[in-house]
Symmetry: D2
Subunit: 377 residues, 4 copies
């Protein structure tokens, strides 16, 4: 794999590298780690890459790697830059025959999103979007149970993503993460909604298989002088008649990263929290509450296939993230070998999930500005 972005000091680049490395299936072979060539070099060196494979920018990397013989050149490109620099490397990689793993949200705006979607379709190349929270085994279990009807028709979905790290004006310090995420020229039209609201939206639709059809949003910017939303509350309506709530916040002071979801059907409901990801709480109308646990008992193969170690040995964020990479690598290898991939591994978010996320951002921002109650999605 080659990497665009993720130089020294970046958060998500290191996460992608650990996730890719965990299973011993993917090797980092090259990178353009920074728009600053010096920094890119230094990063590559720290990562034990030969200097010839560390590039000054992504354009250079894609062109040079393309010249290398198959088997030596990077098999795919991982894009871990800020939002406004997703489209460029993704487009160029696809156009030059490289599959792509791209951080979320997909890109800067809808125009870019639709163009990428078309390009993926046209090239037929694999494209994964790292909505990593869907990589947890108990999220897979939840999805199976909801979609096979264990709880009957779904009536209500509550999905939350509270964080507190932007409760103060962190972007005025030199905190790199805060800086670009609150900058409309790099992040796009939304702040918290783009950064984490899309995770919540993706998780809700991934687990339930339902589609949001209408929404009513109230976005806020609580920190003075901030340029994008740092909190948002949204009413949802789904295509089967279910109702829901989505709220995401980066000013919920004291919250860490508490993505969580509750889904209720006619016969029961479930609850999952990212911060205790190995438990899936199941509640029934007339039977005792159950706590399904990673690795315990007869979980669905979809959950088992994304678990590495026996029950009681907690698997966390990196393991879930690694599941995206492992599945992507599995499918890529199958394709290279002309085999059919294991259906259990054909499970990672794609460019279409990314387009959906960009639409969500657009509709939420539109709704928040409108006096009309419902905006169709």
């Amino acid at each position: 794999m080659g990497m665009a972005g993720g130089g020294i000091g970046a958060f998500i680049g290191a996460v992608h590298r650990m996730a890719a490395a965990l299973d011993g299936e993917i090797e980092l072979v090259c990178g353009a780690f920074s728009s600053d060539p010096q920094k890119s070099k230094a990063s590559g060196e720290a990562l034990y890459l030969p200097s010839g494979r560390v590039y000054g920018n992504y354009e250079e990397m894609i062109l040079a790697e393309k010249q290398l013989p198959e088997g030596e050149r990077m098999d795919f490109l991982s894009i871990v830059t800020p939002n406004h620099v997703h489209f460029g490397p993704a487009k160029m990689a696809l156009e030059n025959g490289f599959p792509v793993v791209c951080d979320k949200p997909l890109c800067f705006d809808m125009k870019e999103a639709l163009e990428l979607e078309k390009l993926v379709e046209k090239t037929g190349l694999l494209f994964a979007l790292t909505h990593n929270y869907t990589g947890y085994p108990m999220v897979k279990q939840a999805r199976v149970m909801v979609q096979r009807g264990d709880f009957g028709e779904i009536r209500k979905v509550v999905v939350e993503y509270p964080q507190g790290w932007l409760a103060t004006k962190l972007e005025d310090t030199d905190q790199k993460q805060a800086s670009w995420r609150t900058d409309p020229t790099r992040s796009g039209i939304a702040g918290a909604m783009g950064d984490i609201g899309t995770h919540a939206e993706n998780l809700a639709e991934y687990i339930t298989g339902l589609r949001i059809t209408e929404l009513c949003a109230d976005l806020s910017t609580f920190v003075d002088g901030r340029l994008l939303d740092d909190d948002g509350n949204i009413l949802l309506r789904f295509d089967n008649g279910a109702k829901g709530i989505l709220h995401a916040s980066q000013i919920s002071a004291g919250e860490e990263n508490d993505l969580n979801i509750r889904v209720y059907g006619e016969k029961g409901g479930l609850q999952w929290r990212q911060m205790e990801p190995n438990s899936l709480i199941i509640k029934w109308l007339d039977q005792p509450m159950q706590v399904l646990r990673t690795g315990v008992g007869d979980l669905h193969p979809a959950a088992q296939a994304h678990t590495r170690i026996p029950a009681g040995h907690p698997e966390g964020y990196l393991e879930a993230f690694a599941n995206i990479y492992r599945n992507f690598a599995h499918c890529l290898r199958a394709r290279l070998q002309g085999k059919a991939p294991d259906p259990l591994y054909q499970d990672f978010p794609t460019v279409s999930d990314g387009v959906r996320g960009m639409q969500f951002i657009q509709k939420v921002v539109e709704s928040s500005k409108s006096n009309q109650k419902w905006v169709a999605f």
Copy 2:
């Protein structure tokens, strides 16, 4: 105390009696326990009341008790009937000089509510509404901390009240509680929102001291043939600029009675759950999370004054409910003795909280029917 309603088989009447009895300060001396005189008699007998103090209806009771000498006659009337039979006994009690403890919501509609409020003002009699969840010690602690500014300006409030007991059409069985709560001729214009949404609204305003100024509601009736809402999702805006979410549900299958609230300010936030009422979780921007516990350490006197036993001996729903009665009784006794009540005990919901709750019901129903985004409250 005398009681209107609460005959054999009723849920809330027994709760009121246990709550009133707990501290040995209040004695049940008479009652009109049912609109069926036979049932009223049987109930009174089961409660060891002398037959002369068990009445066939509340009118009879109020008139008869008024004739008894002071000290012998009931000191106040407790009303535990369905919503549509709150106004009658409350009005008559007040007009005949009896203070009132009334179950919530206050009454059937706004007209009744405003008339009761005027009557309380005119008579100067004490009137308590049993929004019992505000009786918990850790709710008192939360209120003090929020209102004295521990968390800075409040930005976000999330209050939830999920239940699952009406996920099926329970009102078609002979379940008494379900029957009247889903019947618009007895419950009023709202179902879940009147029964438990008002508790959530009351808790949010009690703890924060903020006022809801606008709301946007989406009420649903999920169970076929049901006549009132059984679920509702609401966006809130508060008078200080804070935003919020309130949702209440009686179809969240598998949920018991999970009233809970989160409040976030500039510096930190809190979380309280009714089902684990002796813990108050406090989160800070830059310090470790704290778990305040009933009876542990230097809690505010307002919390201590509503705690009966040492730390680690869980106090529950009945104790919180009893705090409403104890405070009411304390204030009533102080008044009878011409003394000033202890300010820590002058803390129970009043007719004004009841009027606020009735307005909430009205506005939520209005908003839910409207295509306009915000309805002023």
Copy 3:
């Protein structure tokens, strides 16, 4: 009911009164609340008792009450004095025909214990010991499940009772509870083991139905100058071959009142914590963990019979304590009415449990002083 002990400022006396009052079945009619007649009077007045029924000491009370006509005199005596003043009033009450409810541990030493046991047998009077933790609904459920074999043969029992309130030399302040509990002339030969170790022993045998046959104890006194044990760790062996651990502590700094038990059999296990008493965690070899909740689903009638309010309305320490009183009162009334009591209500700790507890204290202290590994129990 009459009461010996429990004057103003006492902890457990107030608990007994609230527990007795909760269900409206028991009325406090007289008391000798303190060995100081002035204090007894003041206490009686605060409790709204007529001055003629407030006595200077228990001897006076028992003799005077005996002279009153049946129906007017106290129906039974509740003893809430320190340990060394249990035997006197209990013996005299029994000898004068009064049933007894007595706080735990039963008395001061084995000699007293055996004499009381004989006296109960001889008089045939009802005698309840307030090992109140067995009054919780989920403890009843646990007991049923273990004893009907849901978990197969029991192999391991871990019962813990950590508190931290005596981590400093509280007895040097004027803290009344600490003072007598650490005084061998009032508490007996054990401190923590008598006060709370007996609760743990009682809970383990109550739930499992097993008998401890051997034990190996290591008691400690960590606070300088303290005269009795404030911590103890014990290995247990049970009559069916199961092994166990019991530890109790009053110097586990920061712990509140964390009585808890885990029981493991061949097929599964359970866990119950007093501080979250409405949950019973059930674990199975090959099935998901379950959380049984007070009031939810098809619990055994033994659990249901000790639950007052619907699921999700937490019931706590006082309600469990009240179950002892309610059951005692039910059996007493049945006896007075010549009826058979409801078997579900014939469930309260008796003098035999008290004798067992006194033996436990004796054996634990003996073991702790011994170099021999096992002491037969």
Copy 4:
């Protein structure tokens, strides 16, 4: 790194590989994965190793690797075989100049242990033992807080390690893990105590810095026909006068891998559970309970240095395990480069911890057979 053991189907070998790979600092370059050369080959192939670096046994590997030029040959040997095959490869590796990472317990018996200790001393080579639970950030934090005296003098330690996976005779199936762990010819003189009891002992001494000086053990074999202990309860005494309890079990049906520890001092206490490893609960005598969280607030640098990602992104078992490898690799690299290692990274279990663990096993087995109460440790 080279690997001895850990062929296809092994549990702990895969764990070591993932742990070593996570940070991109260690590359697997060779292995003797099985005593069956065919299986070793197949395993090496599945791991993308060149066939020339996959050996038929560890002797062959060590000799062959030694012949390779520095920089190409393995830098150290990772031993992940069953207990009875730790000593051989460890001894030979050390004698041939290879540092060692070895799974726990150190070896088969005390004789081997002492010989290894001497050899490490003599060769001066780095030797890490994978008591991986000490790799968690919150264990580091706990250790700092206890040892710098935050809680005052330590009085009580409770360490537990319940599992349930051997509640049935799993060794009669073809379950590889169960098979050798219950076989005295491969596991040594202890079963559960060797496998997990040593983890508990190591954790208690690591966090507290105290030494166990006496113990009193009761080991059991509950499953018929099993040859080694599957459960054990132990009383502990520490060198500062603290008392403790250690129990470990593989027949606690329904338990996953619930290693946990509580430590109480004069001023407060702490609790840590491996299954929720990112929380460290701190309790104080007179202040609210705190929950320290990985990545939140001002944790000690020792905790921060072992954390990879921001708060709220759960890190689990593999990350803790990887901390052992990362620290070992850091120290090894520093040594190779002639630099001083970062003191925060000089923190991994060594051969001395291994000797201590073997002594623990020996003393526990000795105590369990003895009628004497205390065995010196």
